[in-house]
């Protein structure tokens, strides 16, 4: 280990002020899981920092109020977390694993497609798509949006590697105005970051969903709507929860 326990403990202050980066941040967060006294100190120092924030209060432009309230009107909220103890978490993980197989046929097929299509010609891409479709019809298609895109007569498959490694695959239906995005082999991100999808038009970058955590290197399919002619698909790394505009360079930027 690079840091002595003593050194790590002195990082509570820097952590509370978001002054840690990279590997050191990850290392300290892992340490926090095992160090109740550090966690308690971090909480107290965060409260202290919040008082420092109060000294900089400044009224934002009045128009912002209506904008935020309007955005809230059409933004779904996260459900509460249920279960606090590690034992309960383990149960819920198991429960999730039982539930997921409904999707798994599509996920597995799309992931294979991502691996195969990357660098392979369009005919075999079409074959892959047909194969995904035939497997999906036999699976219970409980997600109508997903099923509708995959079943669309104009659906086609696009795949590309990313600058961070791994590949992004999209099943695109211009007629439905939607696409289904899956990935394979994207590097895992720290809890404070997320992969965000964007539909990139000539003058807009529309937030189009967040990729969930990967299972066996594959993320669950995400359906993005609002596709128009000439749009591209972009993926960026953003703070957890996503942003309204991309704040980093796309790791992939693919024509649909």
């Amino acid at each position: 280990m690079r840091f002595q326990r003593h050194d790590l403990h002195t990082l509570t202050g820097s952590y509370a002020l978001d002054a840690l980066e990279g590997e050191e941040l990850g290392e300290f967060e892992r340490h926090l899981d095992r160090c109740p006294s550090c966690l308690s100190e971090v909480r107290g120092l965060r409260e202290t920092a919040a008082r420092l924030a109060m000294a900089t209060a400044e009224r934002p432009p009045a128009a912002m109020r209506e904008q935020v309230l309007a955005l809230a009107e059409r933004t779904r909220q996260l459900p509460p977390l249920t279960g606090e103890t590690p034992a309960r978490r383990a149960v819920s993980r198991r429960a999730r694993r039982v539930w997921i197989p409904r999707f798994s046929v599509a996920v597995a097929a799309l992931s294979v497609a991502a691996a195969v299509v990357f660098g392979v010609n369009q005919n075999s891409a079409q074959d892959q798509l047909n194969s995904i479709r035939s497997q999906l019809t036999s699976a219970e298609a409980h997600n109508h949006a997903l099923a509708a895109v995959l079943a669309a007569s104009d659906a086609h498959l696009v795949s590309s590697g990313t600058s961070h490694g791994g590949a992004v695959t999209a099943i695109v239906s211009p007629h439905e105005g939607k696409l289904v995005v899956v990935t394979s082999g994207l590097p895992a991100l720290p809890a404070s970051k997320v992969y965000e999808l964007w539909l990139l038009g000539p003058s807009v970058a529309r937030p189009s969903g967040l990729l969930g955590g990967a299972q066996n290197g594959h993320t669950d399919p995400v359906v993005a709507a609002g596709l128009a002619a000439g749009y591209k698909l972009g993926v960026t790394v953003e703070p957890a929860g996503g942003t309204l505009r991309p704040t980093t360079a796309p790791i992939v930027d693919m024509s649909l």
Binding site: R51, V68, L244
Partner: protein, 194 residues
């Protein structure tokens, strides 16, 4: 339209109000969210602007943060800290993320010459007199020079501690301990009860 509350009285009472409101926000109560907006928008916007400087960029990030408060209200846990501190943690992290993303770093360097050691004084005009923030300033004045500058550069400047060390010309280990010692002294001076 209700005016943002900038002088809401004692810290503890306000935090309890906010906690109750966040519980209602988590259930989708839009009226409660309006009140939360009025309580949080000035501290959130002010802190983000302190770090980012650029007003339009700050407004954009403040919008994201306030929407995040709406979206994740169910994840607020009063056992882990106060409501204000929860919101300010989100705000500061977002501001710092924006600073550290490459594009915005380049923009910031172009737009503003470094002014790292300016204190909170330059926003004084915009802040209504508030006992709690006066106290914060007084406590900040009670720190040693290196403690105070380290805390201010990290928190208001959005710098990582290695960057703070470079700016102050002191060793990494020194900055780590000065930031921690300074914050602990602030905590005790302001009688923070966590």
């Amino acid at each position: 339209m209700r005016q943002p509350r900038l002088s809401p009285g004692p810290e503890e009472g306000r935090d309890q109000d906010l906690e109750g409101l966040l519980v209602r926000v988590a259930r989708g109560d839009h009226a409660a969210f309006e009140t939360v907006y009025d309580a949080l928008s000035a501290p959130v916007f002010g802190l983000i602007k302190k770090v980012l400087r650029d007003p339009s960029q700050s407004e954009e990030v403040a919008q994201e943060v306030l929407l995040e408060v709406w979206r994740t209200a169910s994840r607020f846990d009063a056992a882990k800290g106060g409501a204000m501190s929860w919101a300010m943690t989100i705000a500061h992290r977002r501001a710092v993320d924006r600073v550290r993303s490459e594009t915005s770093a380049a923009q910031r360097e172009q737009k503003v010459a470094p002014d790292p050691v300016s204190g909170p004084d330059d926003v004084a005009d915009a802040v209504e007199a508030n006992l709690e923030s006066q106290r914060a300033r007084r406590c900040l004045d009670g720190l040693t020079e290196v403690q105070r500058e380290s805390v201010k550069l990290a928190y208001y400047g959005g710098y990582s501690y290695p960057q703070v060390a470079k700016l102050l010309g002191v060793a990494l280990g020194t900055v780590k301990t000065r930031i921690r010692d300074g914050l602990i002294r602030m905590r005790d001076c302001m009688e923070v009860s966590w």
